[in-house]
């Protein structure tokens, strides 16, 4: 833009003819255009070369695709388990066992006070007598209970924390409530949730480890493919070196091959994940229905898909870059 602006300004001056200017512009523009053109040409050329051996290239890309799809699938699983466990956490309730001898009135008043708190959704007071009746109905220990002289059960306040509270907040709330006068013990029934969290974090860690291993595998697969490619084109590389091609020039098409392998692999990984989602669609729909549709199953999403493509390209490029310099240096014309 600037060059053409200068040219039009200069054109009005005497002594500078327009053909001379055009020539000057051409010489200025030629190397840049040549450089960018050379990159564009390499990009297309390496794709064309892969197309000519499409089956071998497809198989390589497929292996890369599987290697990328596995950790990505695990990542999606972990993400869904995390949202799931978070939504389950909202159904967690705390039980405040009241001290013996607390009157029903005092218990109700306490339940009312607790319900006033910011981070509490609701409370329900269950008197000792009510508790005994519920237990008698649900446990089937009626006869055994009759044998007891008094009511062994304490009065209970069931506290439902606010749904959007973080896990640590619930624990803090429990601590505070446990110290209230008249409360003998506060308990959170969430041992199973703790286990779920542990399992999710285990799967997450496993996804990272597997991801790392498979990323290394992709780097080596691409590296090895490029190594064979270089070996097959040894003569061509020798001729290019004799004609004065720089290492950068010879390296370029191979680097672009690495780019394409990574890109194609990631694209195939996306396809594989799509097929997996289709295969899981029906049982997932059943599961969602059983939760009254409250279950929100998320896929990879646009950001995830772009991330996967970028990762694939980066790994392909890296695998190529790690191989190509060493291999090309070993090839010298004789």
């Amino acid at each position: 833009m600037t060059a053409s602006g200068n040219a039009s300004r200069k054109r009005s001056r005497p002594g500078l003819t327009s053909p001379a200017l055009q020539r000057a512009q051409k010489t200025l523009a030629a190397p840049a255009q040549g450089w960018a053109g050379s990159h564009a040409r390499c990009l297309i050329e390496s794709l064309g070369r892969m197309h000519r051996r499409w089956l071998a290239s497809l198989l390589t890309a497929l292996v890369i695709g599987i290697a990328l799809a596995l950790p990505t699938g695990l990542y999606v699983l972990v993400k869904n388990l995390e949202t799931l466990s978070h939504s389950w956490q909202t159904s967690v309730q705390a039980s405040l066992y009241l001290a013996d001898g607390t009157t029903e009135g005092a218990g109700k008043a306490l339940a009312h006070r607790v319900a006033e708190r910011d981070n509490v959704e609701s409370t329900r007071f269950i008197s000792a007598a009510e508790g005994l009746r519920e237990f008698r109905e649900s446990s089937g220990f009626g006869a055994a209970l009759d044998a007891l002289s008094g009511n062994p059960l304490p009065a209970v306040i069931v506290v439902s924390p606010r749904a959007d509270m973080p896990r640590a907040g619930v624990t803090d709330l429990l601590d505070t409530l446990g110290k209230q006068s008249g409360v003998a013990r506060a308990e959170l029934d969430q041992a199973w949730l703790e286990r779920l969290y542990a399992i999710v974090s285990l799967i997450e860690r496993a996804a990272w480890v597997i991801g790392l291993l498979l990323a290394m595998a992709v780097v080596f697969i691409v590296g090895n493919t490029i190594r064979l490619d270089i070996e097959n084109r040894r003569e061509e590389i020798e001729v290019m070196k004799l004609l004065g091609a720089s290492d950068a020039f010879i390296r370029r098409p191979f680097l672009y091959s690495g780019f394409w392998y990574g890109f194609a692999g990631a694209l195939l990984a996306l396809c594989l994940l799509g097929v997996c989602f289709l295969a899981l669609a029906e049982p997932l729909a059943t599961l969602t229905r059983s939760y009254d549709g409250a279950l929100d199953i998320a896929g990879l999403g646009w950001r995830g898909a772009f991330g996967l493509l970028a990762t694939g390209i980066a790994l392909g490029w890296a695998g190529c870059a790690l191989t190509v310099n060493r291999r090309l240096a070993a090839i010298e014309p004789r």
């Binding site: 040409r41 001729v239 004609l243 004065g244 720089s246």
Partner: protein
Amino acid sequence: MTDIVAFKDVVKRYPGGKMALEQVSLRLARGEMAFLTGHSGAGKSTLMKLIGLIERPTRGQVIINGTNLATVKRRHIPRYRQRLGLIFQDYNLLYDRTVFDNVALPLVIRGLGHADIARRVRAALDTVGLLTHERKFPVTLSGGEQQRVGIARAVINRPYLLLADEPTGNLDPALSTDIMRLFTRLNETGTSVLIATHAIDLVERMGHRRIALDHGQLRAGAA
């Protein structure tokens, strides 16, 4: 003016002790054409490789176009080779590319623009008489035609020195004469030419200076 090629007491000993060149001193004037002759193993190819920086001398100096090659670092070799025109016995063409693309390669390597390349490739193909063959693949051409593609590729960068190693080694006498005439024509336009060959009778008919090597030693035609 300075010489285009100057060897000063050049010794080349290959790893393993084989003596390829012993105390060779010779000069090629700018614009001159000369033949380098000798039996196989006399050191012709070694001499060519020293000029092309494919090998480095064990001792002595090789000065090309005023540049002492000992001062050319490895990373500058590509740039140096771009100004040489190398021609090979087995043509060294790329067989998966058309004649046009083969000839264009040195310009592509230098990063020239499309229009420039097309114009210069056609001019070079015209020089060697293959203008109508630009879309063909090298395998469909005869040996003589393939070598002319190689020559077009060598001259397209307007080199100051054409270096041909047994350019007619795979060709019959009639074709060889054609190729040699082509070299003479290129030389007449000002390019210095050095041709290694053992086709003695052809050399004698052409009437240019003859540099004779024998067992790595210079026998005749040093300057």
